[in-house]
């Protein structure tokens, strides 16, 4: 299955729900959250962790298998995470489409190479650590004052996080939470549409859903 750079919708978190009080999160191949909630399958949530399962802090994830007070974190393996202690959850209530986006890129960073070479060694020795968070960018038509651009500006000014959802050809979906920088610069060239650039750095994992 190939995805084409067409009919790609980039959406930004516009509003969030009231805080959802979490009472437990399991450590499973797909974590199960216990919380009094009114979520439905396909909702996107994110977490604020004050103690315990710190790996989940800021993580955005799609919800599936909502049943009673439980829901499953689709595609998020919490097996090796710290034990749950204190977590608040928010649902992304409404989205704003970044209609001006012309390209989005988020290259995979290489794993960190840690040099273990000593003075006695005759060849370099390395061990490899975790990769840095990927830095991403969105280039699009310059649209000052547009609703999505204002959200980016607000997130930039407050150093706040904002969830992004990309839908590819109406089928595949990518979800991540990120820090954002944008809303000020632009690029003007003769006889070309003005463009501007948005930079972002995801928090937690970027999760891809095939459908």
């Amino acid at each position: 299955m190939a995805y084409i750079g067409s009919n790609i919708k980039v959406e930004l978190e516009k509003t969030k729900s009231a805080a959802i009080t979490v009472t437990g999160i399991s450590k499973l191949a797909e974590g199960v959250v216990t919380a009094s909630n009114t979520l439905t399958n396909g909702d996107v949530v994110y977490f604020i962790v004050s103690a315990g399962m710190v790996e989940l802090d800021g993580q955005a994830c799609r919800v599936k298998s909502v049943s009673g007070t439980n829901f499953v974190l689709e595609g998020l393996d919490t097996t090796l995470y710290s034990t749950y202690s204190a977590v608040t959850c928010y649902k992304v209530a409404t989205w704003e489409t970044l209609a001006s986006a012309q390209s989005i890129a988020m290259p995979n960073p290489a794993a960190n190479k840690i040099d273990l070479t000593t003075l006695l060694d005759v060849v370099k020795k390395y061990t490899f650590g975790l990769a840095d968070a990927p830095d991403g960018s969105i280039t699009g038509l310059f649209a000052p004052g547009a609703a999505a651009e204002l959200l980016v500006t607000a997130a930039t000014n407050t150093n706040g996080r904002m969830v992004c959802r990309c839908t590819f050809q109406g089928v595949a979906v990518t979800v991540f939470n990120a820090y954002w920088s944008g809303g000020a610069g632009f690029d003007a060239s003769p006889n070309a549409a003005l463009t501007s650039n948005i930079s972002f750095t995801p928090v937690g994992k970027v999760i891809h859903y095939a459908s």
């Binding site: 750079g5 067409s6 009919n7 790609i8 919708k9 980039v10 489409t97 209609a99 001006s100 986006a101 012309q102 390209s103 989005i104 699009g140 038509l141 003769p190 006889n191 549409a193």
Partner: protein, 123 residues
């Protein structure tokens, strides 16, 4: 308004109104202007068409010698009039003059064509 009708409006006062798309009607003599679209480039975003496109048009300014003027001078005068009309137009606001090469000379009719090329942003 379409880009074609905007061009007609902008050039209404040029060459005594002898401005035609693609080809002149039979029997119409230069000086006259023929125009045609060379390219159409829609502005796209990741979602789709952004509602604007860039079209490049070639304006062939055909001059003809008279007792007092050469074909070259006639064509150059006409080309300058086309440029002035487009640059002064209030309907072709997103215009951009682009490089163009090659004039044409018809040895049989002694008519000379001076090309003018513009790119326009339009909906």
């Amino acid at each position: 308004m379409s880009i074609h009708s905007d061009i007609v409006t902008a050039l209404a006062g040029v060459a005594s109104g002898k401005v035609y798309p693609d080809a002149a009607p039979e029997g119409v003599e230069p000086p006259l202007v023929l125009y045609r679209r060379l390219s159409y480039d829609p502005l796209m975003t990741l979602q789709g068409y952004a509602g604007l496109a860039q079209s490049t048009f070639l304006f062939e300014c055909w001059g003809k010698p008279t007792v007092s003027v050469t074909a070259k001078a006639s064509a150059l005068t006409l080309a300058a009039a086309v440029q002035a009309a487009i640059d002064a137009s209030t309907v072709l606001t997103s215009r951009f003059r682009v490089p163009v090469t090659g004039e044409e000379y018809d040895v049989n009719t002694m008519e000379l064509m001076e090309p003018v090329q513009y790119s326009f942003w339009h909906s």
